[in-house]
Every structure is written in C-alpha cells, then in structure tokens.
C-alpha cells in the first residue's frame, strides 16, 4: 500500500512516486502535482494554468492518474500527499489529452495560416504533440464579431478556448475586472460588462491578458503595415525611438539567452529596415528624470501637494483616471519618456536637421500595449502634431524584422543616432519596476545638494517584490519617503492608502501597471515565468552598472538641450513640450471618452 510505504524523511517533507520514480517533496502542503512533476523534469502540458493565479482547472489538459483515485485528476489543482503514486503519461492519459485537444479544436476557428499566433500558439503546439491527424469531431463554429474598437487590442472570441487566463489576470493580478466569462454552454464567451466593446469598457489596455492568451483570441492592434507604408514613402522622414527594456527582451525571440542585451544589433536592424533616424527612448527617460526630479524637489520645498506620483505608465494613467480620479492632483505633470522624446524630435531635432516637422512620422518601439492608446491621446499634441504617430510592441517589431529578412545573429553593432541617442544607466533602468524612482532620486539628490549620492544603487527599490519602500536622506533635515508599486493590484493598495490620508506620509510614488514593470509589459515576448522577468531586470541593472554615465543630469545631450533649446528646467518651453494633464473618465457611461 502506498500510504504505508511512504515514510517522511524530514519533519516537513513527504515521499511521492512519479512514473515509479521516488521523489522527496519538501513543504508539500503548498505543492501541486504539476509543480512537483515539472521541478523533476516530468513535463505535463497546461493551457489554463498560470503560476501567479489561482488554478481554474478549466482545460483539463494537465490530467494525471493517481493510484487509488477513481478518475484522473488535474495536476494544476491537486496537492501532493504522502505516498501518492502519480502517472503523468500513461496511454490512457495520452488518449484523454488527445480527445481534449480534439474537442477544443472541433469548434475552433482553425484559421491558423491566417492567424498572428501561427507558430506561436499553445493550442497548435498541443495539436502537434498529441498527433491530431484527422478531423474526428466536427463541431459548430461560433460566429461572434471581432472587437476592433480599441486602439491597442483586438479580441476574436471565435479563437477563445475559455481557459479563463485573461479573466484571472484581469481580476487577480490587475484588479481591473474589465472582463468575465458570460453566458453558458456553447454560448459562453469572455466579455466585458453588458458586452460592451473593449473601447467602451473599463479595460486599461495594459495587455497582460494578451501576454498570457494561449491562442490568437487576444492580440495587439498591429501597426506594422502602416509603418512600412510610411518607410516606403520618400516624402516622409520616419524616425523611430526604442524603449529602454526592448534591448534586453527582444533577443529571446531570436534565440538569444534570456537577458541578453542586443542594443547594437537592434539599432542595425532598424536602420536596415529603412528608418531614417534611430533614437533611444532612454534619452527621453533622462529628460523625464530632469523634469520629474525638478518637480519633486519644487513640490517638497515649496510645500505643494504631496505625494507626487510618476506618470510613465499609460495603463496606470488610464486606471487612475477611471478608478481614482480624485488622485489626479498628486500626479506628476510630466509626460512619459515616449511622448517627451516625440515632442523633442518634432521640435528641436526637426529644427536642427532642417526638416519640416509635418513630414516626420514618429514611431515608438514599446514593451507596452497601452502606449498605443497614449500615442492617440489628444493632450499629447504639440503645434498640431501628435507626439507619437505609431507604436509597435516588441512582438510586432520581431515580426517586422523577420519579414524584412534580417538575421540579428549576423548583424554588426551600430550606435543610436545623435543627439537623441545619448543615454545613461539611469534612463535604462526605467524598464524595471523601481527604476524610475531610483533614477529620479539620484538626480533629485543632485538638484538639492549639487553633488551626487554617495552610493548610486538604491537596492530597496530593486527586485521582484511588487511594493518596495525606501526612505532617502536628501539633506540632514529632509528625508523623502518613497514607494514603488507595480501591477495594478498593488497600485490599488497605494491608491487606497492615499484616499485614507496617506498614513505612510509618502513624498514620491512610482507606479507601473505591469507587474515587474516594462520588462514584463503587455507588448513583450511571452515569458510566462518570474525567472524570465528577473533575468530581464538583472540585464538592465548590469547595463546601468557598466554605463559610462549613470546619472540623467550628466547626459551631455540633455544638458545641451537645456542650454540651447529648453533654456531652463521646468521652464515655459519645458511646460509647453514636456508636460501634460489628466482627466477623470467614467467608463461606465462614456467609455474611453476619447
């Protein structure tokens, strides 16, 4: 008997058998069959499972046999117990899994060759693994309309397999609750309240649902064709800026190890694609730091409204405008690095390069879906021109690079174009949650003391925790309380604290909509585990550590921009080009309101 054979080797560990191999499991009370099996190299397929959410057990693809159990059990939601004899890959299990895939496919769109997820689809992969060769079941197809109303994401309910990942991520990780499973049986469909379009719903367009969707049901609204058309138009000057996190994530899609920095190759690839000028958004990030640190110091020294909240993350902005409009007064007035850089390209750079700004088409490569929404915001316009004309996510750029027949492995390195290509380590770490805060504090310290922080690294705001607090002594009389929160669930915690009267007396708050920051953004390559995100962050901090210049205020191009063009920090010209406003929005009745 299994139960008598198993003797605990330690007080807090048990024995189980997987496919007749004896395995010791420590802390068994929290471990599922799936976790234990995967830790020991037994691969069990999953479709609805995600490590960071409560298991739904809805897809059943992870079923395994357990001796003494009458029926196969889902490995994702069954805890291991003493002496359990688990079989992960019996003939019966293989057949069950095949039938599950066959049934999922039976009423699936099966539009694979025309689907953006072709070759990158979890359902397709399982159909291959379990050897679907003939159409045993032909089910009715669903005929739900495509939702293309949003600037950022497209929803095709006919490709949905009802795994609930998007619903769970939206409710448990982001607490946005824009969507849920509605209706029942064959009619079941993931939709927003009252089946409103994404544009009219409370969705903040963070794209975390797109990042986890196993099929092509949720995708970005692609701008690759539009960008190509402008590149091909000889009358248009197409400039591109690349967000700080892209260089450490895009390599994954071309087989580079996770966390490889491919900056030089990326710049070469963009030049080969035909962009007229390739800029680094890190320059925009440095500019943001100058303006934001200056705003923070002024707000503290002049006794103005505190705390000040960072405004780089457009998903966070939309969330705040919709759910916490009473907190608008705390927001920094700074535009995001993308919009600042766009405004400078179409003013200063155009002027310097003798180009009519109306002829510039400004593209931004972003880790983010909500940036597509930001680019379209009516406030982010200067002199009649939108700061950003098109946004491509990391995934879209990967597809474009492939289409242009560029092999990144063989590319030489190139430099970003001057002057909006000079960057610092401070701007680079914007891509990791806590990075904006660290960079801003380095410069705020300098603004007050006219000397640099004794130690540049602020380790309390690094790492994978989603709420990170630090108190920085700026002068003997002034210490600044800071908190960096990422993921909207954690943003909500901070927002509720502010509504309750700011009991922790924060001066400065950084919020990123996506857990872990931009390196885990909704537009990034699909890396479903925390380890991937951690490695991407480490890569950014390594770049900062090795950078010649690690302080935004020491970026000579930024200094020159102030001395020759903007004239003064937080001055009139800065306010015109680099600052913005926010508006309360009531999605319940007005939708996106734009």
């Amino acid at each position: 008997m299994a139960s008598t054979e198993a003797k605990p080797t330690q007080a807090n560990s048990i024995m189980v058998w997987i496919n007749d191999e004896k395995i010791t499991v420590s802390q068994p009370k929290t471990k599922t069959i799936l976790q234990v099996a995967r830790d020991h190299g037994f691969h069990i397929p999953t479709l609805c499972y995600l490590p960071e959410i409560t298991p739904t057990g809805s897809c059943r693809i992870c079923v395994v046999e357990v001796e003494g159990y009458p029926k196969p059990v889902p490995a994702c939601s069954t805890l291991v117990s003493t002496g359990m004899k688990i079989f992960t890959n019996t003939r019966k299990i293989q057949e069950i899994r095949k039938v599950i895939v066959e049934l999922l496919v039976a009423n699936h769109d099966m539009d694979c060759l025309y689907c953006v997820r072709n070759g990158d689809c979890e359902l397709q992969e399982l159909a291959q693994i379990y050897g679907l060769r003939d159409h045993r079941f032909i089910g009715s197809k669903r005929q739900n309309p495509l939702d293309q109303t949003s600037m950022a994401l497209v929803r095709d309910p006919n490709k949905c397999i009802l795994c609930h990942r998007c619903v769970k991520v939206c409710s448990e990780i982001q607490t946005v609750n824009a969507i849920d499973v509605t209706k029942r049986g064959f009619d079941s469909i993931v939709s927003s309240a009252f089946n409103k379009s994404i544009h009219e719903s409370t969705c903040v367009l963070c794209g975390q649902c797109v990042r986890v969707c196993p099929t092509g049901a949720l995708t970005e609204r692609s701008s690759t064709v539009e960008v190509r058309e402008y590149i091909n138009d000889p009358d248009t000057i197409v400039t591109v800026q690349v967000a700080p996190s892209i260089s450490v994530t895009i390599g994954e899609e071309f087989g580079f190890p996770v966390g490889t920095d491919v900056t030089g190759k990326l710049v070469t690839a963009l030049k080969r694609m035909g962009f007229d000028a390739v800029f680094d958004t890190v320059f925009g990030a440095d500019l943001t730091i100058m303006e934001e640190a200056n705003e923070l110091v002024k707000r503290i020294t002049n006794g103005k409204t505190l705390p000040m909240i960072s405004t780089c993350s457009p998903g966070w902005i939309k969330f705040m405008e919709g759910e916490y409009p009473d907190l608008i007064k705390y927001m920094s007035s700074c535009k995001s690095p993308m919009s600042m850089q766009g405004a400078i390209i179409k003013s200063h750079w155009a002027q310097k390069s003798n180009i009519n700004p109306k002829k510039i088409f400004q593209v931004a490569i972003m880790p983010c879906m909500a940036k597509k929404f930001e680019a379209d915001r009516s406030e982010l316009v200067n002199d009649g021109l939108q700061n950003t004309d098109a946004v491509l996510t990391t995934r879209e750029l990967v597809r474009a690079i492939k289409k242009y027949g560029i092999d990144p492995h063989k590319l030489p390195d190139s430099q970003y174009d001057d002057p909006l290509g000079e960057s610092t380590g401070a701007g680079k770490i914007f891509g990791a949650a806590g990075g904006v805060m660290e960079a801003a504090l380095r410069t705020a310290y300098w603004l007050v003391n006219k000397k640099n922080l004794p130690k540049m690294e602020i380790n309390q705001v690094r790492g994978m925790e989603h709420i990170k607090k630090v108190k920085i002594q700026i002068t003997p009389d002034l210490s600044v309380n800071c908190v960096a929160a990422s993921g909207l669930k954690n943003a909500r915690v901070i927002c509720d604290e502010l509504r309750a009267g700011n009991p922790n007396d924060y001066h400065f708050i950084e919020i990123m909509a996506c857990p872990g920051g931009c390196i885990n953004g909704g537009g990034q390559p699909r890396g479903l585990d925390v380890e991937t995100v951690k490695k991407r962050a480490e890569a950014l901090y390594k770049i900062d550590e090795g950078a010649n210049v690690r302080l935004s205020h020491e970026n000579t191009s930024v200094q020159r921009l102030y001395s020759t063009f903007l004239k003064e920090l937080g001055g009139d010209k800065s306010h015109h080009l680099l600052h913005t406003r926010y508006y309360p929005r009531n999605e319940r009745h007005q939708g996106c309101g734009i």
Partner: protein, 151 residues
Amino acid sequence: MHSKTITEILVPFPRDEPSALIPVLQAVQSEYGYLSENNIYAISDHLNVPSSKIYGVTTFYAQFRLKPLGRHVINLCQGTACHVKGSEKLIPVFEQELKCKAGETTKDGKFTFNLVACLGACALSPVVNIDSDFYGNIKIADIKKILRKYD
C-alpha cells in the same frame, strides 16, 4: 411606479458582501421586473462585486433578465415529446410573426418569446404557454390566431 428605490432595496443587505449577490439580484428583479444597467452598477458598488462579474452571473442563470419582460410571456416547449412532434419547426414561425428572436421581447413590448425545456404537458405536445393559458397540439396555421387574442 415601483414602491421601492434601488437604494431602499439594497439597505437590508450587508455592504461589501459578494456572497449576497444572488439574493440581491432576485430582490431587485422582483421589484423592477428586470436588471437595468444602472441598477447593476448600484449593486456592484454596494456589494463590491465588479459589474463584469455581475453580468457574468446574470447571463449564466436563466432566471435573470437584463431587459424588461413583455406584457405577455410566450413559452414554447422544446422538451423531448414536443420535439418529436415537430416543435422546432414552430420557432421560425413565431419569430416571423413577432419580428423578434427567441429569448427576446418584441419592439412594442407586447410579447416576450422564450423557449423552454419542458412545460410538463407532454400529452398536449407540441405545446405553447402564454401567460396562464396553455395551447396544445398546435399547428403552424394556429399561431397567428392564437397571438391575435392578446393585446
């Protein structure tokens, strides 16, 4: 007019208590006859349940309605006995006469047309029930005449 406002209906139910959702929905529907968008938002705020979740629940259970009922409710039986006697063929005839789909209410608010699993009157199959009246052994040709009785 309704005897109670939405606020009055919600008062007895504890705030921020998601488990009270079904009883609250039933209470609101029994007062108003259906669940309006604004009432769902009020319930959402009271119980701290997202409106998307409430929409999910109300579309899952057949007992909840998101639109007002017509003055007369037609239940066309699709149970086994009625099915065998060809009740499926009656659906398009009703839909054409009423100019609305099964599960919907006519534009003038006169009829709501539902399909039901079994009315328990199999001897009369195929059977349709309108308000408290039952019509058995109905044929396509009878439908117009039956509907004309209601105003």
